[in-house]
Structure formats: structure tokens, C-alpha cells
Amino acid sequence: MAKIKSPAMLEEYRNEILRKRKYYFRTISLCGGPGCHAQHCDEIYEAVKKAVEENGLSENVEVKKTGCHGFCEMGPIAVIQPEGIFYKKISLDDVSDIVNRTLGKGELIKELLYPDPENGKPITKESRVPFYAKQKRLLMSMNEYIDPCKIEDYIAQGGYSALCKALFEMEPMEIIEEVDKAGLRGRGGAGFPTASKWRACRKAIARDGIKYVLCNADEGDPGAYMDRSLLEGNPHLVLEGMIIGAYGIGATEGYIYVRHEYPLTVSNLLVAIDQARKVGLLGKNILGSGFDFDIKVSIGGGAFVCGESTALMASIEGRIGEPRVKHIHTAEKGLFNRPTNLNNVETWANVPLIINQGAGKYRKVGTKTSTGTKIFSLVGSVNNTGLVEVPMGMTLREIIFDIGGGVKGGRTFKAVQTGGPSGGCIPESLLDTPVDFDALYDVGSMMGSGGMIVMDETTCMVDIARYFVDFLCDESCGKCVPCREGLKQMLYILEDITEGRGTLEQLELLKELAGVMRDTSLCGLGQTAANPVLSTIRYFEDEYVDHIKKMKCRAGVCKALIAFSINAKKCTGCMRCRKACPVGAIKGKKKEPHTIQAEKCEKCGICLEVCEYGAVVRK
């Protein structure tokens, strides 16, 4: 492929790709996202490709492995176009049927269709599946049409047209103004206005003419994986956003910092960058505009704090990833002491959309102060786990119950955790809170990068607070005292409470520690570290009090406060629990009721898991 040297050439190339596509009368897109990938979608993809060839359908049927479609609960999934047929939970055994019947003859396979949760009737089209119907997929929608390793797929979907518009029809300042008018706020957590950052970096003076734009793909929040799915599934969307941003800011070099836990993301990204360079969308004189810009990929080493801007930059430089005090903003002195602008993956992905449709149309989605859509990873105790993209301002209730299909296994909703370790737990009474940056902040949580973890009555809120503090204690870099020591003290207190040694005074101490850490920690990690503790005390104080005064964990999680026993009436003496018990704490003869010896029992719960008669009781 020769280099594309003008917008007209890009248009010509796009038409040529579309012309070639006309011969296909059906396309099957198999989801290759993280969820489906873990369920061996690769093998299914190879099998479908082989079966299509063997059935002589290669000329007419296109087989694609694409980025994440979002509905991970139903994976591995496939969508067949042009009909838009949605197949769920495909296995290798289904491949020959799918190829012969659906791809060959257009017949539906009823067993693979998604049953309507209301009436059990199979739903044919993806767009009618309730999980998708209520979403507004502006960023994610392209994923299922794109093989992330093929730039042609992205270009066929209209890709890089926003870049053409930006480079040839707009001045750099106009780009920043447009992003400003669109009201774009950073999707990484804090929701800082993107255009203000860009403006500051544009204004900053670069002594040697070099400025950087960076993409933060160090998605460290546990329970969040939307950045992974965007970058892995549609890398060119992020690249296009970065090139436009770099042109606006006047940057010539870019870095994408990806966490090492995402090897597939890195390899897809490297392929995408290579292809973009080959066709002249990265490198010198992009599209013949005279603008030079190139992107490198930098890989992390598994440190949560490297999601913080200065720590991330230190890590790219090959140094220890510790944050620094920001007396001087990174817009002036960032990476290698040069002016630097850092945005999150999802923020960059919004940029082409804003340039293409204009700020006016973009603003129509979302609320006044939080515009556009937001992708959430809806996980935990919810029926439809997966990635959901919704307009800002939708309520938590709509997301969890209408899209997510409610709590798993008929259990009762207890809380939803947003914002990762910097966020908080939101109770049932506040489920009508709209998801926008300010409303979530007001209820003691935050938007964060978009993790949304649903919890039911089997989750202990004190244990969740302990979990996050333990996590942060482990991830604190140790540079500043309030974070390093404060977290440790908080952990001791929370361990006291979960292990039955807590006192009511400790709750006050926790709040006091939280205040000190918020006011005096060096970086965002420490400043927000107490949020999970404060929000659980605020909304679930009765659970703390239960642990302290009644020595009871109502969720049955805190081991020191629970005991296992066997209900002799229900026990059939099947020996299953006895065999499974790893410490030999269960005694009893065959066909006679068993008993658990409390002094030996380690409370692992395996007996409860293996018992088929519901005879094991946890109290």
C-alpha cells in the first residue's frame, strides 16, 4: 500500500475497500474481546474459517474476529450481518451448524438465540436484546465491524475522516475550541475539562520545540476493563484522537502507556501503529498536510500508582514510577521536562466523534455538565455482566436493572461500587442518582474510570472497605508518609473490626485518619484512598456496629465471626463434604448425618459449595 498523501486519496482508498466488500453476502463477526477471549473464541474463529472454506463459501462469506461487543456474560458471542443475528454462548460443536445453516442458507438456530428474560421468546436481532437496546453506543458500536489488526476495516467505517477535517479545514486553536464547546471531560477519573489541559499545553513554551501527548492506558482500577476493550478492539479510534489532539496542541511525539497485564492490547496496538505509519497516517507529513507526529508504545510493570500522571511519566522515562509534587504542572514540564498532555484512552476516543459531528451535536447526549456517553464495566453480582455505554445522566438503577438485568441468582441488591479504590459504595436508597461527574461526587463516590461493581447481601461492606485499603496499602509507593502510614493504620483497624476485636472509638479514628490523608497526601492515590472507608461508614454504619457490638457479619464473609454446621435433618450422609474438606474437619459415617468439628474447621466453605442438599449452614 502506497502512502496516502491527501484527503482525496484517503476517500479513494475507502471507496476501493467498500467496492471489494460488495461480493460478500454475509459477514460473521466473532467477538475477540477479553471475556470471549478467555473462553477460547480463538479456536471457534479458526473452526468457522475452516468450515467456511470447506463448504466453498469463502467467496461470499466474510469471517471476522473483532473487538469486544460488550455482552461478556453471553460469550463467546457472534453477530451475523446483514441480518444482525445475535448468537450467544457458542461452542465448537455449534460451528458446523452456524456455517451450514445460518451463513449458507440464512436459517436461524433457535438454541443459540438470546431468550427474552420476560417471556423466554428467542430474540433474533442484536439491537433488540435488552442489554443493547437501552445503551447508546457511540464509541463501542464500531467494535463489532472491525478487525483491530486491519486498518482497512476502520477506514471502511469512515475512520480518519475526522483527522482530514481537523488537518485541512481547521486551525489548531479551532480544534481546542470545538472540544471545549463539546464540554468533554476526562474519562480517567477526575473529570477535568479536556480543553483546558490542551490549551495549557499549547501555550507552554517548548525550548527545543518538542511537546508530547500521552495516552493513559494503565487501567489499574480493579473491576474495570473498558479502556482495554476500546484500545484492543478499535486501536485506530484512539490513534486518530491522539493525532488530532497533537495537531491542536502542537505536539510532535506521543506515547501510549499500557499496563503489562494486557499483552493482547499491546500487540494489537503495535500492529495498528505500524499500519498507520505505512499508509502515511503517522510519521512525517501526515496526509500531505505538513504535520509530523508519531506514537510509541510504553509498557508498564504492574504498579497501580503509575496511572497517576507524574508517576506514569517517570515510568515511561525508565525510572521508578513514583509521583512528584506538582508545583509545576506537567503541561509545562512533564515527560523529559517538556510540555506534556496526558489523557485517558476513552477521552481520546471521543475526539474524532466531536470533530466529525461538531460540538453542538455531541452536546445533545448527556447532561449539561457531563456531556457525551460513558462506558462502564458492569460486573460483580449482576445478571448481564459486560461493557455498557450509556448517555451520561442515566440513573444507576436503569443501568443495573434495565441493562444489567438485576442482581444475580435472585439475591437482593446491597450496593454498587464506582470509581475503583478512589470511589465509594452507593446504597439502594441512592440508586436514582444519575451517572455524571458531579452527582456521583456528591454522594461520596466518583465516576472514576468506569468500574461498576454490583454487590448483594453476600458481600460484607466492612470487608469491602478492608479489601480496598489492603489493595491501596499494597500499591502505595511509599514516598509520602500520610499515605504510606495512614493506610497501614487504617488496615489494622479494619482488620480488628473484621476479626472481632473492634471498638466503636475506632470508627472515629478512621474518620480522623481519612481527613488527614485527604489533606496531606502527595498524590491522588492517597488523597482519595479513604473514600471506600468513608462511604461504607456513611451508608452502612449498622454493619460496622454489628461487627463491633454483636460480633456478627451478616453477609457471612468475615471468617472470625462465622461458623459452619450441618443440619442433621437435611444431611443424607453422602460423604461428599467429608471427602472435599481439605482439613478433615468433617466426621460421620456413610448414610448418617455428618458433623463439623469447630476446632479443626478453617471456614473455607468448600462443604457448603459441594453439598447438594443444602444441609451445610453458615452463620
Partner: protein, 158 residues
């Protein structure tokens, strides 16, 4: 010719001698040795012309790197929030008990290393246990015990 070169020389040839290449080089070298031997760290420091303490600092700061040799099979339990609310602590406890080691340790016969990770980004399938790069979703204590016992059996271990 090339196959005689040490992994650190190959890695430096691949990524270059700039300090920004240090983390990728360490990843690459660790892939070969399955840990970072002292000799390799010294060689890398010399080739990148930075002090050993800088290399050591980075190698010990980041969770991904290990200065201790790892076992033949790597068992990683995801401890992310989504996995946590679905009982990943119970799964980890059982993995520890079955293998007879704590998280972060390697068995004496060098067959197994047990590690935890904060999130693998496959949250929909939690709790996740990865054994030698293969993902096992929706784990329970009983299931993880069974899988680990099978691997132990293949290795002819108790």
C-alpha cells in the same frame, strides 16, 4: 550466531540502549530466565550505561519483576473487586492449601509459583485463575483444587 547471545544482549539489541527501554528490556529478559538474575541486571546496567542501583530500583519497584526464580507452572489468582465479591479470597486460600505455599512463593521442587494480580480485565468471568497463561473463569475453591490436582498429577507430584 545469534542464539549464543545472552537474553539481555538480545533484548538490548531489540529495544536499544535508551533508558526508556529499560522496562521492556526487563520484561523480555524475564521472559527468558523466568526471573531476573543478578548477572543479567549487571549486564543491562552496563549496556544502558546507568548505575546498577537504577536498574535494581526499577526491577524491585514493579510488581511484574522477580529477582527470585519462578516455578515451572505459574498460577495467578485475580484479586480484583469483581472477583473479590465472588469469593476470590476463598479460591486463593484453597490454591495456597493445595500447593502448600503462600502467595508470592514457589514450591521447593520448583514446579509451582503462586501469585496474585490486582485485575486481569476479564471481570465478567470472575473469579479468574490463570494457570500457565490459560484462563479459568468462574472458579470456586473446589474447582481450583481439582484443576491444580490435575496439573500436579501430570507432574507426578503427590
Amino acid at each position: 550466531m545469534k542464539k549464543d547471545l545472552s537474553p539481555e544482549i538480545k533484548a538490548v539489541e531489540k529495544y536499544g540502549t535508551d533508558r526508556t527501554c529499560l522496562i521492556p528490556i526487563l520484561h523480555e529478559v524475564q521472559k527468558e530466565y523466568r526471573y531476573l538474575p543478578e548477572k543479567a541486571l549487571r549486564n543491562i546496567a552496563a549496556m544502558l550505561d546507568i548505575s546498577l542501583v537504577d536498574v535494581y530500583g526499577v526491577a524491585t519497584y514493579f510488581r511484574a519483576f522477580s529477582l527470585e526464580p519462578k516455578g515451572k507452572h505459574l498460577v495467578t489468582c485475580c484479586m480484583g473487586t469483581a472477583c473479590h465479591v465472588r469469593n476470590s479470597p476463598g479460591v486463593l486460600e484453597e490454591a495456597k492449601r493445595t500447593l502448600g505455599i503462600d502467595a508470592g512463593e514457589t514450591t521447593d521442587d520448583m514446579l509451582f509459583s503462586l501469585e496474585t494480580v490486582n485485575c486481569l480485565g476479564a471481570c465478567a468471568l470472575g473469579p479468574i485463575v490463570v494457570i500457565d497463561n490459560e484462563y479459568h473463569g468462574e472458579m470456586t475453591p473446589a474447582k481450583v483444587k481439582k484443576i491444580l490436582k490435575e496439573v500436579e498429577k501430570q507432574e507426578g507430584r503427590g
